[in-house]
Each structure stands twice: as structure tokens, then as C-alpha cells.
Symmetry: C3
Subunit: 116 residues, 3 copies
């Protein structure tokens, strides 16, 4: 068990259909987070929402081109999160997408299974 | 890109089946947030939970009247969130529903697509 | 309406397939939270992620043994959350699972329906 009382919770609010180089932005972000050895990343899909463009998206509408809101949550220590925010910045610029990124303080306790 | 290091993350924990004037409370809240020009809102649906009434709701039970927990996440600057909390208060009172509202500090970075 | 400006938001990041004594860990945690009278708990299922073991899990892969990431969110006052963290600790140790636990400060407003 490791405790870090000065960690950060990074949350990225984007759309499911946002693409970069033909691939989903959320996949690109999660794979990059793993590549850089961040402690973990979780992608959550919303059922309704609006963001930078203020269009309402909802799972109730029977449209083919759904663009439901996604939240990607990433937890790690301050300096790793700060470096990752720079990468996120480049992804937003490259993909030319709108979205929100929030950074919150959090105390983090990390458990590692001894074997499984 | 706009950075606001004094922003707030508002989260509203309610039930999927909560209604106000015949409409889902979560829809009413999201539409109100957009109407007031808040930066974004995302509704997430849980698979299990309990809230103010402490009844356990779970997607495992094959009941017709599911009431899965929802979380609505809204991010914006302090004064806009404070005003929106008053609106949420009135919605909770009007609908006579139980629930939790949490307000956290967050640094927010907002990206706007230049065209799309 | 009750306001608590010194509350805590506890978030537990585990896998859907994590088991303790043959039962899902997330169920065990939610039931324990209710048993102890915590204010509420919500389980959210991710569509993609990685955690302590850094394996990527995604709902896109058609595997039988999916292990999608889960986030359990629990809100209550400081001393109740601190006691619950000890219980979570024992569950992680007993189940020998990896995962993250984050604790954030939050202002909490609690609404209770007068009748329903």
C-alpha cells in the first residue's frame, strides 16, 4: 500500500466521436497514459450532456451518429499529471476538438496485488 | 485555451426515475445548465447504489421500475456554480426528492475547437 | 437540507471481476457502506481503462472474461469516511486485489424527501 497525500485527479471531458489521426481521442489518451506509466485511467460514458459546443447529446435520441459525452479519469502524483496535461493539450490542438480538463487535489492510496 | 484555477466542480447525485412536472429531473437540470450558459454538463448512470432513502438499486435486478443512480457533473467558475446551486435547490424542493450535491474546487482548462 | 462544508468524497477504482469470498468486491463495498449508514454510494462502470496491473480493458473487445473498470463513489463526513477507508483497506488485503482509492475534500448538501 502506498499513500500519496499530494496527488492529483485529472479529468478530461470530451465526446465519444472525437477523432485524432482516424482514431478515437479517448483511446489515444488512455494508451498514452499507460505508455507513460501513469497509475491508472478510466473512461466513463455519459448518457446525456453538452460541452464546448453546447449541443445536447443524449442516448435517448435514435441517431446513427451519436456523440455521447465521455469522462476520462487519471490519477497520479503532481509532476506526472502536469506533464500529462501538456500531452493532452497537444492532443486537443492536433484534433482541434473542444472540451474541458479539470485538475483536483486528492489523497491517493494505491494497492498492488501480490499475485493473482 | 482558457485556464481558470478557481473553478468549481458541481456533482448532483439523484435517481434515474426522479421526476419534476412529469419530466426526468436529470434532463431538467442539464437543459437548465445549457440555458444558463454553463461550460458543460455530463450525466453518468451508475450500475448500483443507494442514496438518501438508503434503498439499494442495481442493474442486476430484473425489475420494471429500475431507479439506477445518476451523477450529473457540471463545471464552471465559482459565481456561476453558486447561482446554479440555488436553482438545484429549488428543483430538489419542487420535486421533493432526496439526493446529494457536492461542490469541489478544481482547476479548469477549457478548449474550444476553432471550427469543426 | 443539511450542509457540510468539511465532507469527503471517497472514490475506489477497482475491476468489475474482482472477487472477495466469491462475491463481487463492488457489491461488498456498497452493502458495507449502507450497513454502516453512510450517506450514499454509487457504482459507475467504465468502458475502457487500466489500473494497478496496467492491462488495458475495453468494452470493445469481445472477450468472455471482461474486467471493465469500476469507480465507487461514496460521500460523507470526514470521520465516517476515515473509518470506511480502514474497511476498504481490509477488503483490498483480503481479496488481494490492486486498485486505487482517492479522497477529496468536498462541500456536501444533502436533501431528504419529506415523503415519496
Amino acid at each position: 500500500m502506498q499513500i500519496n497525500s499530494e496527488a492529483k485527479l485529472l479529468r478530461i471531458f470530451i465526446g465519444e466521436s472525437d477523432r485524432i489521426h482516424g482514431k478515437p481521442v479517448y483511446e489515444t489518451i488512455v494508451l498514452k497514459a499507460r505508455e507513460l506509466g501513469l497509475a491508472g485511467a478510466t473512461v466513463i460514458k455519459g448518457i446525456m450532456g453538452f460541452g464546448a459546443n453546447s449541443k445536447i447529446h443524449t442516448s435517448k435520441l435514435l441517431t446513427v451518429s451519436e456523440d455521447l459525452p465521455l469522462i476520462i479519469e487519471i490519477v497520479d502524483e503532481l509532476n506526472k499529471i502536469e506533464k500529462f496535461v501538456d500531452i493532452i493539450h497537444n492532443i486537443f490542438e492536433d484534433a482541434n476538438i473542444g472540451g474541458l480538463v479539470t485538475i483536483e487535489k486528492a489523497e491517493v492510496i494505491k494497492y498492488i496485488a501480490t499475485k493473482k
